[in-house]
Symmetry: C2
Subunit: 222 residues, 2 copies
């Protein structure tokens, strides 16, 4: 059996995605302990075998404790490992990503938003983890329910199109978008619910919500 | 800093895929040590910080040492963790999968092939890891170069179609297959190379190989 002295350091880190001014942003936290104290970084910490049922459980606990986050869709991304990524020694981080709708931000603390394409320099290999998470959601966001998880529970079709555009980083054609969304049966009308008219939209718009079957693909809702 | 006594056990396990009688099979190894000594299981072992540059490196080292395998495409699948998956204590396994062409099997040892859809009962959570790997390659195999990695370096179009069918577990239409493969530019003709005529095929067939650009998506070639 491998001696304890030979075991790697085991941590988890979570890439947090949210919308800021209609654009995809990531939420970072200033580290309060060494190594890299004072740097902005992903929210992460040690796995605690005495408390955590899995690494995803550890990620959820740390998001709640360090950033006041709950009510998120959280998924494992990949494990990053090696002798030099952390100055404390051979380590691995089971990286996760989560989608943070505006409602979940109300109770959150100690987080700063940055555009995903222009983050500050990040310590450890957090830059590579962020890049991998971004590639994953851009890939997975192409016609899954994922982008809609950044919206409130009910939304209009133009809201939905805007969030797909933000995640996928491309302009979508209006009618092609509506056709695709209908084909995929990801959303359903909320009976008798309309959003009020706005300056841009003179008539009230039908409200939609994600269909229940569109939500099964995530590891965990915390 | 977390004490050593609190660190999880860190292992790697690899799901090995190969072709057996034209069907997709997985290679298992009989465990020679407890826990579960004598059971057929995935090929795995401890990460050794003093030797391994990453968990993928550990998986490659263990495949070479325990099964004589080299020359494989190897990729990280996901990390499986928790307090009860291993009787030795809270553990995580960074699961990988690899594609084993027939040529790599020549030097291999201590492996038995089983149909992917009918494996023996597996210890730990190896059944869940195998199922996840199978889902991944069926998904990723849909029009990536992945299935072709199970073939020799040069192959005929009918060989290639058969391996896509084995991985994706569906019958493919001949002309649709040729069109798709051409569109994707995954393969190129080997100049002046033809396979000999066979009982099923009266004329020699053009030989193909994977285009170099089709090979970039893998973590590592070991």
């Amino acid at each position: 059996m491998a001696g304890q002295e030979k075991r790697p350091i085991v941590t988890v880190d979570t890439v947090l995605f949210t919308l800021r001014d209609g654009r995809l942003a990531t939420l970072l936290q200033r580290r309060d302990k060494p190594p890299h104290a004072g740097s902005l970084a992903l929210v992460g910490g040690y796995v605690r075998p005495e408390e955590d049922a899995s690494t995803t459980d550890a990620a959820a606990r740390i998001l709640a404790q360090k950033a006041g986050l709950a009510g998120l869709f959280l998924e494992q991304l990949a494990t990053f490992s090696g002798p030099v990524r952390d100055p404390r020694g051979w380590s691995l981080s089971v990286a996760h990503y989560a989608l943070v709708p505006e409602a979940a931000l109300a109770a959150a603390h100690d987080l700063d938003a940055f555009p995903v394409d222009d983050p500050p320099p990040l310590p450890f290999d957090h830059g590579a983890i962020l890049a991998a998470a971004l590639a994953r959601i851009r890939n997975k966001g192409a016609w899954s329910s994922l982008p809609a998880l950044l919206l409130p529970e009910t939304f209009t079709l133009p809201d939905l199109k805007a969030v797909y555009e933000a995640v996928m980083d491309e302009r979508l054609n209006d009618s092609a978008f509506r056709r695709k969304i209908t084909e995929l049966r990801l959303i359903e009308e909320v009976p008798d619910a309309r959003s009020p008219a706005t300056a841009e939209r003179r008539r009230p718009a039908q409200l939609y919500r994600l269909a229940r079957r569109a939500l099964v693909a995530f590891d965990r809702v915390i």
